[in-house]
Symmetry: C2
């Protein structure tokens, strides 16, 4: 059988190195880290990973966390975070299990603690080096997810002893989903209502020790395992209830609001900044969308290039040469490409704004920028975690029946990925919040007010229609439709935001498109790429825009962006772009430079020899011809005596005659 992948690879003309450098400016470091991961005896992931049970996954994960603790000792926090992010591509649960402590717990302290508190809890106690303290982030409650202001756990101040008493007042206030709580954590950052002198001062953050150095629960602390989940079973999520747990006054994090020994509470409006701790997760998930998406689209495209179906044996058609198959996969390839520059731009904004904020140079400017970042990250996180979920599902289906096998990697990918739509801001909640802000920004812009750089387009006068020959037009068509939808929403909303939630959702999705297209075109025009690599990047850019215009064509036509007849032109143009991309698909996926161990799919190896790879993996892990351990169940069914005998011949005609009258 022809190895189509290798045959096509030999014919590639694009420079894989140039594309890789474009997608990942840090590519040399990335390659080095991947090499370290795949050669590491503990950190590497193999096919048998897909066969592990929950207890096995959790134990393996603990070993990986321990292994990472030796890496963290010799690199900066940022370097380690990057290592974690790359590791997460092949094993997302490990990164989460560490991130619960290093990102969530530590960020809660960094964002809410005084310098002394940060110094003690994070440095002196070894936490940032994965020693001594292993923290968890006890925010969510059984009855309260997205609505932090509604949390019910209480921290009641006792002035006579200068302590707080932490309590779980009812079942719905049970801390829930707390990653690390079931087994790993000895401390928690607990979000609880500060009560002093009988007054409720709202939700603040408290450090509460959960377990002693022997891992025994402290008095009044009740904890249990949350158990099985749709995915990420390697994470030991737990629930926590507090019964009169007493902690010193000094354990309240007091960067913003403070409490005096006598119980006087000093509030500050600056506290809203503290929620910036949650931003990192959202921003990271956009980068995850790029990195994980690249893994899954590579599997599907390599398989679709290799696999043939229909036609005569030996002359069958490669799956990827079916138009519908291209329609199913190539727009997602363009999404993954756009997410490279897009996620990098967002991450750079985040780093700059947060640094300015912590440096407190121009606090007013920082707070304004922070708000814009909230909106942009909400739009990008929700839109793209949804799209990657669709990508995974489509990739699995594109691999036909074999996509359903655990070793395709795509089933587990979907299970693990799905949580991204819900955690650290439910996608629907984030999206409609972002949409409401966009409408408000639009209204402000129309009144001539100055708005943030990312949203300045809302005040521009733009052509609604698409000019195929003008690259900017592939972006402005989105800016213009956003204006029209925002305008429409303002017209029908009548003071009730609920009436325009569909429009708000659309605006959030459209802003993500605008943002990604803008970031991508900036990079194309920066001169990094030249020649045919630049040409192909432009093709990808156009495909992304046109595919989504076609997908949302009802909205464009509803608001008369262009004539209905133009849709046919757009659909024809999309097919033309497919034809331009088709010869380069091997190079475009090789450009991610993911080692086989990171892709970890029997269908997605670099060598393209997928039947042998797949069969080999299966033979290696499941052997041949073993009988079932429960064979007696089958044997006793198939060999059972007939019913009459089993019923003691008590229903035969002569018995019934005997019994009758």
């Amino acid at each position: 059988m022809t190895n189509n992948l290798q045959k096509e690879r030999a014919q590639q003309t694009l420079s894989v190195d140039s594309l890789n450098a474009f997608l990942d400016p840090d590519h040399k470091n990335t390659a080095a880290i991947y090499q370290q991961i795949i050669n590491d005896p503990v950190l590497v992931t193999s096919k048998s990973y897909y066969d592990l049970t929950k207890p096995q996954l959790r134990e393996l994960c603990a070993h990986k966390v321990k292994r990472l603790s030796s890496y963290i000792e010799n690199e900066s926090f940022e370097e380690f975070e990057n290592r974690l992010s790359l590791l997460s591509v092949s094993d997302p649960a490990v990164a989460t299990r560490v991130g619960i402590n290093l990102a969530l717990f530590c960020n809660a302290i960094k964002g809410n603690g005084t310098d002394d508190q940060i110094d003690y809890w994070l440095k002196e106690r070894g936490t940032l080096k994965l020693r001594g303290i292993y923290g968890c982030f006890a925010m969510t409650e059984l009855g309260h997810g997205s609505n932090v202001a509604g949390l019910e756990t209480t921290a009641t101040y006792n002035p006579e002893r200068q302590t707080f008493t932490i309590n779980t007042p009812n079942l719905a206030a049970t801390k829930w989903w707390i990653g690390g709580a079931a087994h790993s954590s000895n401390h928690a950052a607990v979000y609880a209502r500060l009560i002093s002198g009988g007054k409720d001062y709202g939700v603040k953050v408290f450090v509460v020790q959960l377990r002693d150095s022997n891992f025994d629960l402290l008095p009044g602390v009740s904890i249990g395992d949350i158990g099985s989940k749709m995915g990420r079973d390697a994470i030991d999520n737990g629930w926590i209830q507090f019964n009169n747990v007493e902690i010193p006054r000094e354990y309240m994090l007091q960067k913003f609001s403070t409490i005096d020994p006598d119980g006087t509470v000093n509030l500050t409006p600056l506290e809203q900044i503290s929620y910036s701790a949650l931003l990192q997760g959202r921003v990271s998930m956009v980068l995850d969308s790029h990195r994980h998406g690249a893994r899954y689209i590579t599997i599907a495209l390599r398989y679709s290039i290799g696999r043939e179906q229909f036609g005569e044996v030996g002359k069958e058609t490669q799956l990827i040469d079916y138009t519908l198959h291209q329609y199913r996969l190539l727009p997602y390839l363009s999404l993954v490409y756009l997410l490279g520059p897009g996620s990098q731009k967002l991450m750079a904004s985040y780093n700059r704004i947060l640094n300015d904020l912590y440096a407190a140079k121009n606090i007013k400017k920082s707070i304004t920028e922070l708000k814009d970042l909230f909106v942009a990250s909400a739009s990008l996180k929700s839109t793209n975690t949804w799209l990657i979920s669709q990508l995974i599902d489509e990739a699995r289906q594109a691999c036909g029946g074999h996509g359903y096998h655990a070793y395709s990697g795509l089933g587990r990918a979907f299970q693990d990925w799905s949580v991204q739509q819900t955690w650290e801001g439910d996608n629907n909640v984030l999206a409609i919040n972002a949409g409401r802000s966009i409408i408000k920004y639009y209204q402000a812009a129309q009144k001539g007010k100055k708005i943030g750089e990312d949203f300045a387009y809302l005040g521009e006068n733009l052509p609604a229609d698409l000019d195929f020959s003008d690259l900017r037009s592939y972006i402005t068509i989105w800016a213009a439709i956003i204006q029209k939808v925002a305008q429409h929403a303002l017209k029908i909303y009548k003071g009730n935001w609920e009436l325009v939630s569909q429009e708000r959702l659309l605006l959030s999705k459209f802003h993500s498109n605008y943002y990604l297209l803008t970031a991508f075109l900036e990079r194309i025009q920066s001169g990094e790429l030249t020649g045919q690599e630049k040409e192909i990047a432009i093709t990808i850019f156009k495909l992304y825009s046109l595919y989504f215009v076609d997908k949302f064509s009802g909205v464009f036509l509803q608001f008369n962006s262009f004539q209905p007849s133009k849709l046919g032109e757009i659909q024809t143009a999309i097919k033309g772009l497919f034809a331009q991309l088709r010869p380069h698909l091997v190079a475009l996926t090789d450009a991610f430079k993911y080692p086989d161990e990171i892709i970890n799919s029997s269908l997605g190896n670099f060598n393209g020899d997928f039947y042998n790879n797949y069969f080999g993996d299966i033979i290696q892990n499941y052997g041949k011809g073993d009988k079932a351990p429960y064979l007696d169940v089958l044997a006793s069914m198939l060999g059972r005596p007939d019913q009459e005998e089993r019923l003691f011949q008590s229903r035969t005609k002569d018995v019934l005659e005997k019994l009758g009258n």
Copy 2:
């Protein structure tokens, strides 16, 4: 905390019994079977089911199959199939594991065997009563899924010994995914190329014994376990390779083509009928879409009625009162309702046509009807298994973080359901085949040719626009757009069907809408429902149509079905329909009458006390406060000596000075 579900249930005015009888004409029998299942010590499913490992699931499944073998002895095949279908709602893998034998293996023999062959293999040997023979369906090969004509396994006739030699000529020809092959089956219906006198006569079906009565593999038969899958791990899928396995000439199924002792092969064109064996699965999956969809939408709606979020504590808003939440769930509720009558109509057609075919009254008419049934079932199977997959994903997200817990049941549901999109006809392949047929039917109708009843609308002269006040218009708008898309496809296809695969996909989806709406309106107008139950059914009917018109609005506007401004009216109308449905959601979901054990979700119990149910299930299965079995890994990490000590103090300044020069 208020129990919103119970509070609202007390206010319901709809008759749950009437709606239940409308949705399920066999409702009395259904209720009796559910009662038997949930009281059966082996067949009932509980939350701990979600915690089972693959080996545990397989063993439990074998016990359930054995348990079912006692039920099958006292009922008809049709009754038993109905029992299986109902059981599948709570445990889909069990039904599949039995269905591999009773539906696929037995149908292969019924569809291809002579009366004597059917009598021997199915009755005399006990197969139909789950005794003696347990068969599997060995069609798919590693390299050949949808393309049956391309299978490579060979059955070469040896006239001197009057036997066939079965061979697997290469790795890609390995029988793959064969359900039951790994552990359970002792016989297989093997699809292989008949070779006689050196000539290839195409794919025929052969009965091949795989294992002896001691479950040992027969000579030349090599079998292995396929291993882990995305879902349905309880099914022991396997692979099979044949190395010169010899079987008697009589083991070829010879209802159609036959082979004489001297090797002369007698082919017949009627053989195409044999593929009708695969139809049952597709038709059943439309019924599954209704039954399973009802389970998942009930979970999401009950949770959304009970759960409150945002606003003040104690006065928070019920999730279902958010417009977006209604937009996310209520169209799927309408889908599930429409699938009731729709799937029943399809099943009735199937039974009638197959009975006529087997009775051979009017073979030509039967073959024509069979072709139409292929198209209708392909369109309905693909469209609705996709939609139910989206329903499950949306339902999970609508339950927020708790939807991600295994005990919501929705994660496993997605994993188990996903295979429906791929098996027994890949959805994309089925849909574009159906779409091509619809275009051809349209062309024929335009030429004045008579076409089958289900597609007669293609020749009618219909208004393109929607008249809100005319119920028929909610259907004809779909018929008219199908005509327009078919016409457009004919204009651009230029002899190459590949050029219109997107249009073919749309036509398949639109035909499903047309079919479901038609079947539903027929039942509404049959007089079964009266009063407000009839009114609410009409509301559901309208919502289904308008929701999908809005969803595919780009197509309607592209083909000028109505003015762009009408979309706003449609969107407003949809919100009005939501408002009409909102007060009745408890009754509309109670009307499915699923016992809690069938729903098997901590979030979806009838009593609506979901926090207590959920917490109780978790405490029961995971206990409180256990330490991790792998605690030493965590302890040795957190308590490790500092790096200098672990590196033997060999990197201190004075050591480096000693070593330097």
